[in-house]
Amino acid sequence: MLFTTPEFFIFLVVVILLIELIRKQLWQQIILLLASYYFYWCSGSIHILLLIFVTIASYLCGWRVWKASTLKRKRIWLVIGTIIPLAVLAYFKYIDFGITQINNVLGLFNPGASIPLLEVLLPVGVSFFTFQALSYVFDIYLGKIEHEEKFHRYALFIAFFPALVAGPIVRASEFLPQLKSKISITGANLQAGVTLIIWGLFKKMVIADNIGGYVDTIFANTAGFTSMQVIAATILFGVQIYCDFSGYANIAIGVGRIFGFKLPENFDMPYFTRNIQIFWRKWHMTLSRFIRDYVYIPLGGNRKGHLRTYVNLFASMVICGFWHGAAWTFVIWGAYHGIMLLLHRYFVGERKWGVGVKFLDSNPAVFVKVLITQALVFFGWMIFRANSTGDLITCIQKIIFFDFTMSGAMKLAFVGGIALVLICFVLSFNKRIVELVKKIIFFDYMGYFSSQKVQYWVIYIVVFVALILLLAPPETPEFIYFAF
């Protein structure tokens, strides 16, 4: 059941009505839980059993960690509580990848020898709900939260349908306290929630889906297109993945907001960041903090010397890349960002290059930094999007050995792009213009629209829903992050 289908909205309206009619807290939570399971069953069918299994296993492990009287027992149950969700994730997501790699090695020694692939179907949202289950066990072990006495609340935390299939990755410490009070659908939350949902749908259906076709065409056969087309497709993919993923997050947060739940934001204007370290604080924020708190810090963080810090940073990003999918391109992408973070830490963090230099904090310099950072980020998107390592090599060759073949429209776009960058650079010397632009870019539009009087808010609905119906392509592809 996709967020962009009429079936989902009918489902949502029914759930809202049921929650409104039923005033008892326990029954409200049961209904939400059953609705979440129904939602997952529509998306993943038999895999709902897996969701329930992970829920029960992690709940029990969390309880045992909480109850354990000695540190040793705590650690044993922590290990069990870590292994079970990770084993589930490893099997369903990575087993065929592992078999393929083994076959590649076997093939070197004995051509023709191979282990058959299991062709395991990837359960929708497995990367997300396993991580949520892990965070629960970890946080109990770290003493950040107490064990949740009521199982149905914990089950609802794992299965809560807005965030179930593609995040945000919610922490138990954020969500469980919100279940202590009755669900009350207020006018303010309804307005804010619907505003976010419509905005998310616009980003996904109007921007991301219309770009997607062109991107898919180019990346399906990069060898058959010009350098400029590959670059254009890469840039458009960067826009597509942002609009697709942040659009989904908006819808998820908006739906949660309708019920009065505050889910964490996942994006905070990542394409306006001036260095790679800040980028990762603004992109897929809930995954970044998971990796930071449960991988980077336990590995030692920055507390074990410079070299170990770099290793920890690199390993964390490789794991982050690998989390995205069972393919070498994702690992390379993670490693690429690991190297960039590492270099940033070394040169800026330790060698203090450019730190304290007044000019480098000026607006034009910041503009250049943003450009360079985003060029590096978008190059990373090319790695991320390439269908295979072979395709990736082709893409890189296209950039290094630029062919200068451009259609008329492409030439116009290229010249226009350069002109725009130059104009922006010149304008960046004017502080007033920069302040105005910052206000425009960083203005809280969602807050503005959702706080308008209803009679004016209706205009927002009409305009954006009309644009969605008019401009959305006939068939809406799945959200990109459903594949993770």
Partner: protein, 342 residues
């Protein structure tokens, strides 16, 4: 403040005093306004949408029939699917006829993935446009293909006349789906525009160049995949090697209807059993072949069997000939027309 609260607080908005019922009413009113906006826009845009859709090949085909009513010339129509598209090269036929003293216009009225049941809705308009000879290019699959392109039926709605006999060939659901609401037309256009934006060949928004169908043959890419052809020919589920029974399918009824309509208007008809690749031909059972020709014999028209006319070297897949094959086939068609017209 902890980082968790930092993140959570990002979702905090200014809390207005909006009452729940007001917001619900606002949502309902907003959606109703959108429906109203679209309804009125759709209604205003219908003539523009129809103008765009008139460039669809199926609409162009009916335009051609209408146009040809007023043309006083000798003409021959070739009717069929992509088999006719690739095998019939109208200019070559015209040239040979002209060189033999015949001034006859040749029209390749192919429709991709055409079936007899879909083509039958055109027959009234086709005969009204007064051709001097109609040549149907069919194959074994023509009797059993249930391929249904509702686009062709819907977009041409209003241009064809469904007689009671024709109506009896369609199911209730098919008849109900023939009518294209404005919403359907707009969605169709959206699909076509989307395809064009993504570099795909958009369906049906190019005006067909006269003489009809010639432009399609030129620049046609031929890439042969022998392995795929062998595999496809050996596949019992391949629709091009069907089992033909003695039963009269609705496609056969449609063909009979079309031939009878032509006879009523004294328009001669020839049926060509089109060439197919030897790999496919050997898969047609004797019983199927026997039933096929037995049915054709009951139609009371000239049947030309060209199934085994060409070898592997003249095919680029199991059913479409190469350019050389097309030229040779066209040459033979010219000879056939000369024979008929003499």
């Amino acid at each position: 403040m902890s980082r968790t609260n930092d993140i959570l607080d990002k979702t905090k908005r200014k809390e207005p005093e909006a009452k729940k019922w007001k917001v619900v009413v606002g949502i309902v009113v907003g959606l109703l306004l959108v429906i109203l906006l679209f309804s009125s826009t759709y209604t205003i845009s219908e003539p523009i949408v129809d103008e765009w859709l008139s460039t669809h090949p199926i609409n162009s085909l009916f335009d051609f029939y209408e146009y040809h009513k007023d043309i006083d010339e000798m003409s021959v129509y070739f009717v069929g699917s992509s088999l006719v598209a690739t095998e019939v090269y109208a200019p070559a036929i015209s040239d040979k006829l002209y060189n033999n003293g015949y001034n006859i216009s040749i029209y390749n009225l192919f429709v991709p993935s055409d079936t007899l049941i879909m083509r039958s809705i055109q027959i009234d308009e086709m005969v009204a446009s007064s051709p001097d000879l109609i040549i149907f290019g069919i194959s074994y699959s023509s009797f059993v293909q249930e391929h249904w392109n509702e686009e062709y039926m819907r977009l041409a709605y209003g241009e064809y006349n469904l007689t009671p006999e024709l109506k009896s060939l369609y199911t209730g659901e098919e008849l109900s789906l023939m009518y294209p609401g404005l919403l359907y037309k707009v969605e169709y256009l959206k699909t076509a525009f989307h395809e064009k934006m993504n570099g795909m060949n958009p369906r049906g928004l190019e005006k067909v160049i006269e003489p009809y169908g010639v432009s399609r043959r030129q620049g046609f890419e031929e890439t042969k995949d022998m392995e795929s052809m062998i595999s496809s020919a050996n596949n019992p589920g391949n629709t091009w090697r069907p089992i033909i029974t003695a039963e009269e399918t609705r496609n056969v009824k449609a063909l009979r209807y079309m031939i009878n309509t032509c006879k009523q208007e004294n328009i001669p008809v020839i049926i060509i059993n089109m060439p197919i690749h030897p790999l496919l031909s050997e898969k047609i059972t004797d019983e199927s072949r026997g039933n096929y020709f037995a049915i054709l014999d009951t139609l009371g028209v000239k049947i030309i069997d060209m199934e085994k006319e060409y070898g592997d070297e003249h095919f680029w897949d199991l059913i479409h000939t190469t350019w050389d094959g097309a030229l040779d086939f066209s040459d033979k068609m010219a000879d056939l027309i000369i024979q008929e017209m003499s």
